[in-house]
């Protein structure tokens, strides 16, 4: 029986995260943590003409937070910063394609919240 949370998409991004690392000479360098579990994330990126042209992250976190950062960074590359700020939490949870229980919302949303708090 396939696990309801740890499906292919989460495990694949956990093992081979996209956009992992840091951007050289970044326009922004954001760090945040999840105080309930101590997970840490760092996001660096380059902005040109209001558009996010490059983004990378590193994290010390669970499979859910790592996979969601991997998916989200892929999604926001090329987007206008103003659009990124408008992204909705429920859409990010949906994008993961797995069932996220409320206890894991903070894990799944750490990356988005770091973006939105830092770029506002």
């Amino acid at each position: 029986m396939e696990d309801p949370l740890y499906r292919e998409i989460i495990l694949e991004h956990w093992q081979n995260p996209q956009n992992y690392g840091s951007v050289k000479n970044p326009s922004f360098d954001l760090s945040d943590n999840n105080p309930s579990c101590g997970d840490k994330i760092r996001i660096t990126g380059k902005i040109k003409n209001g558009k996010l042209i490059d983004v990378r992250f590193t994290c010390q976190g669970c499979a859910v937070s790592k996979a969601s950062a991997s998916i989200l960074t892929g999604q926001v590359k090329g987007m206008l910063i103003t659009e990124i700020i408008k992204l909705k939490e429920e859409d990010i949870l949906k994008n993961l394609g797995v069932e996220i229980t409320p206890a894991r919302y903070n894990c799944a949303l750490l990356c988005l919240r770091t973006f939105q708090n830092g770029l506002k």
Binding site: D3, Y6, G38, C62, A63, V64, R104
Partner: protein
């Protein structure tokens, strides 16, 4: 001996394997009854009630104080202060006593295996008074290397406090205080001794005279009692020099428009109405521990510890943070599985009904010393069995399957 039947939670959660007793213990029926009885038979405020019901409530309240004194071999009931929990108890010692007497450059000795409750109050005093903190290191067998203090080039007469946990909430290590304290006191002759017994008290004998400690703190909820009640023990003459942290009702000898005089300890430290039903429950928890006999409990848990140590560390990809020697050790097992995050491990264990804790366990100084951000922690108590350990082991195999960790 089966202790499980004493705890009704297991009748209501038949498949649950509860391995989180270091966070809080389950409650035996006798404790639940005592809380219930307080409300249904004796509920009234203690102290100053000149009627039979209040006298009965007071008997329960002060009776528990005597039971606590007996349990830890204190000099008398007046050396027992009820607080909200162990954290509050340590804060009372730190801010009621030590804040008055510590001076800039005085040294407080802690260890790397302390819970945040025995780190942060001293960090606050470091900030406000300029005291220095030295952390006794943990060695490669996850035991305290207390003799390293003697190698430090410090003025030992400046060491005014040695504040140590009796047992680690992460490693399971029991610190042999009967050896450690006298050996440190030889050099640190001015040091007071504070012991955090929150983890040890439901598992092993705690005797303030044998430990030769000045202060001792613990919580009711980790020793089968209700939450919301903690205890600070301190020697009588120290309590006389300690200031209360809270002021108001009950603690008063006399008040006029200009000034207030306080009652002596313990009343001086217990302003306001206490957690009456909780204290009644703590009394029942102590009776339970005494009936079950801590020495018998200790022996039973040695068996659990030995059995777990014979299985858990043998699993490939499991890294244990704690000694593999069952002696001087609680049935508390911190581990990681490969690079899998502790939260992911606990999520999958939960699918099997196995309740564990994941994270830094309020011991970030220790996490740094162990060079990890967090661990999975399985902590056992008297109601656990070898079957529970087996269930943990097979569930760990499932975690490895889900995360495709092949042997």
């Amino acid at each position: 001996m089966s202790y499980k039947k004493d705890f009704p939670i297991f009748k209501n959660n038949r498949k649950m394997v509860y391995l989180d007793s270091a966070a809080t213990s389950q409650k035996p029926q006798v404790v639940i009854d005592a809380v219930n009885d307080f409300f249904s038979k004796y509920n009234s405020n203690v102290h100053r009630g000149i009627y039979t019901l209040s006298e009965k409530a007071e008997e329960l309240y002060e009776g528990t104080r005597k039971k606590v004194a007996g349990l830890i071999n204190a000099g008398g009931a007046s050396e027992i202060i009820f607080t909200g929990n162990a954290t509050e108890a340590i804060n009372l010692a730190a801010f009621g006593y030590f804040k008055k007497f510590l001076k800039k450059d005085d040294i407080v000795v802690l260890s790397e295996m302390e819970h945040h409750s025995n780190v942060v109050p001293w960090l606050m005093l470091k900030k406000s008074l300029g005291i220095k903190i030295y952390y006794l290191p943990v060695n490669e067998d996850y035991r305290l290397d207390h003799l390293r203090l003697m190698e430090q080039k410090i003025n030992f007469s400046k060491v005014k406090l040695i504040s140590l946990t009796h047992a680690s909430n992460v490693l399971g290590t029991v610190n042999p205080l009967e050896e450690i304290i006298p050996s440190l006191k030889k050099e640190c002759t001015n040091a007071k001794i504070l012991i955090d017994a929150a983890q040890s008290i439901p598992h092993i004998p705690v005797n303030v005279k044998k430990m030769n400690c000045d202060f001792l703190a613990f919580s009711s909820h980790k020793m089968f009692g209700p939450s919301g009640v903690g205890v600070l023990y301190a020697r009588q003459e120290l309590l006389e020099m300690t200031d209360p942290l809270f002021y108001g009702g009950h603690m008063i000898a006399n008040v006029d428009k200009e000034k207030a005089r306080f009652l002596p300890a313990p009343a001086k430290f217990e302003a306001g109405t206490g957690k009456l039903e909780g204290v009644a429950g703590l009394g029942a928890a102590i009776d339970y521990l005494n009936t079950r006999d801590i020495k018998v409990i200790q022996k039973y848990e040695h068996g659990l510890t030995k059995y777990t140590l014979s299985r858990l560390p043998k699993i490939k990809n499991v890294q244990l943070y704690g000694s593999r020697n069952f002696l001087n050790r609680l049935p508390v097992f911190s581990f990681n599985i490969g690079a899998i995050h502790p939260h992911d491990v606990s999520e999958i264990l939960n699918r099997h009904g196995v309740c564990v804790r994941a994270g830094h366990h309020c011991a970030q100084v220790l996490m740094d010393a162990c060079q990890t951000a967090g661990t999975v922690r399985a902590s056992l108590s008297i109601y656990n069995t070898k079957d529970d350990v087996d269930k943990l082991i097979t569930s760990i195999e499932d975690v490895k399957n889900v995360f495709r960790l092949t042997d």
